[in-house]
Amino acid sequence: MKTARILIAPLVCFLMIFSMTACKEKAPDSYVVGISQLVQHVALDAATKGFRDALEEKLGDKVTFTEKNAQGDIPTCTTIANSLVSSKVDLILANATPALQAAAAATADIPILGTSITEYGVALGLDDFDGTVGGNVSGTSDLAPLDQQAQMIKDLFPDAEKVGLLYCSAEANSLYQVNTVKGYLETLGYSCTLYPFSDSNDLAAIATTAANDSDVIYVPTDNTVASNTGIIDNICRPAKVPVIAGEKGICEGCGVATLSIDYYDLGYATGLMAYKILTGASDISEMPVEYAPNFEKMYNAEICEELSITVPEGYSPIEG
């Protein structure tokens, strides 16, 4: 008897929920867009917001969003992908690499747009990536012009010798950027040392070592750094070691200067792509991956002043 009651109780609950929500017919020209984001931090949040703003501007009430955040958990990325695909959303925005990979594993039919992804070829295991993913995947890349970032270090610190490259070893994108930038820096005559840390727990120790041994520190577009800029700032500012950052959010927290992409703009550009796909104006399989529309040289006025760094022409201050 008791067992039967235990079994019946959830069933009754379920039926109650079921009866409360009448089956709703979907309006013909309305769209449901699923958003799967890996973790919340400034850059990813900005990209999601830009995406939503672009679509809402274009489609108004006709678009609804199902926004899910995996809280940094890889298994949850898969659960979210399953949830969005099973609910048959019209389009999926995958914000950050694991979110894209999980979504791409889940469906070959529903269009998937990625954003905040550095290298689509690496993320999706494509050997012959030529700028267009094909199939049901496209999106925007957050790859900053790394050669110009290296040149920026040369412009700002011509007398420096040792550059420390600080990044999270858990992020494939960071390693890619660091290795590329290292090549450019070495041709400019700097000696480079890699300082990989595994997570926020050993960031402080590694950053201290990096600050002791380097004249300048470079950090790429790194999710873990983006969440922990305070730690780096507390170490590098007292040590008087300037930090050049891969993007604006990190520069705002701990950097001196950056050649930055704006994640809001990047998300907005992704939103415009989504609009073209939803309205049928473009076929996702033919859409090449888009890059950030514009780059801006920016500096962090507060830290520059404290380290008495004079910023050359052409840099604009980050407004906090």
Binding site: F14, I17, F18, T21, C23, K24, Q40, T64, T66, E67, K68, N69, A70, Q71, G72, D73, I74, P75, T76, C77, T78, T79, I80, A81, N82, S83, V85, S86, S87, K88, T97, P98, Q101, A102, A104, A105, A106, T107, A108, D109, V122, A123, L124, G125, L126, G135, C168, S169, A170, E171, A172, S174, L175, Y176, S198
Partner: protein
């Protein structure tokens, strides 16, 4: 946005498949946590090791079967490492697991070559994939390609093999070691080697689960095992609370642990469906586990007298 129960129903096969894959991992946790009476934290690392080995093997052209075997073997080695730390270095089990987990971070990075390695279902013949699940439901693939079916068969085979193994003399001595180490030693059982064997077997299961998981989700990531032990323990506890009362048989108990993992993922999927602010997702997971842990305690506390309290039947 209104909640559509049909959506939830459509999402259940995915939760079921994911739960079954994690169920294999939960069997691994069950071996250490319940049979050996050791809380082994190696799993956070060995899950990823299994995935990493599997992805790299498949990418280099080895078949899926061989890749799964290699992943299982790699898991055995991680368990051996923890066992050696514990038995020969005299480090407490929990710390030995943490040490191996720490070391595996670097090992996994070396195996994969970078932090995230994709295994695209378009390019390789994988055994299980979230993609297949959708295709089976649309009728594009026959039912036996469904991950639920494939992993279900896997689970049954694993349970059968483990049931046989724990019935052999060797398996029985592992169980005796966990139940009462002093008594086992008095009977002439080498408890040290049995602990190592249990840890190896457990991490082999976890790595096998990791190998299936990478294929299912389409990538291996250095962070994929983070918090795995929590999911494993949750599965064991949910299975124990809900089913151990009816399932006294050892094989059925392993199955109920798998069901525990399935229920965990069904709950997570439902929470996501409810459109809760996902910032509360982890709080919710913790609460679910806490409630499952508390129910038997409350039952005991608030039931005035239980006439049929026999001996502790939990020593599996």
């Amino acid at each position: 946005m209104t909640l559509n129960p049909l959506d939830l129903i459509a999402q259940m096969p995915g939760a079921l498949a994911q739960g079954l894959i994690w169920g294999i991992m939960a069997i691994g946790v069950y071996i250490t946590y319940k049979i050996l009476n050791i809380a082994d934290l190696t799993v956070d690392g060995s899950l990823c090791t299994g995935g990493a080995v599997c992805v790299v093997m498949i990418m280099n052209g080895y078949g899926v079967t061989l890749s799964l075997v290699a992943a299982f073997a790699a898991g055995l080695i991680t368990g051996l490492a923890t066992g050696i730390f514990h038995v020969f270095f005299g480090i407490s089990a929990i710390l030995a697991g943490i040490l191996t987990q720490l070391a595996l971070w670097s090992v996994n990075l070396v195996i994969m070559g970078r932090a995230n390695q994709s295994i695209n279902v378009n390019n390789y013949d994988l055994l299980v994939s979230l993609r297949y699940l959708q295709e089976v439901m649309k009728g594009a693939r026959p039912f036996y390609w469904s991950p639920i079916f494939v992993v279900g068969i896997f689970v049954l085979i694993i349970v059968a093999v483990l049931y046989w193994f724990f019935g052999t003399e060797l398996g029985s001595s592992v169980r005796a070691t966990g139940a009462n180490a002093n008594m086992a030693r008095a009977q002439g059982i080498n408890t040290d080697s049995n602990k190592i064997l249990g840890l190896m077997l457990s991490n082999g299961m976890v790595a096998l689960s990791g190998a299936l998981l990478t294929q299912y989700q389409g990538f291996a990531d250095i962070n994929m095992g983070r918090g795995a032990i929590v999911i494993g323990l949750a599965a064991v506890i949910i299975g124990e609370i809900l089913f151990f009362k009816f399932f006294k048989n050892f094989a059925l108990r392993m199955l109920s642990v798998v069901l525990g993992a399935v229920i965990y993922f069904v709950v997570i999927q439902t929470v996501l469906w409810l459109n809760f602010d996902s910032n509360y997702l982890k709080l919710f997971s913790a609460l679910v586990v806490a409630i499952f842990l508390a129910v038997p305690y409350w039952k005991k506390k608030f039931t005035p007298f239980s006439p049929k309290r026999k001996g502790d039947a939990d020593c599996a």
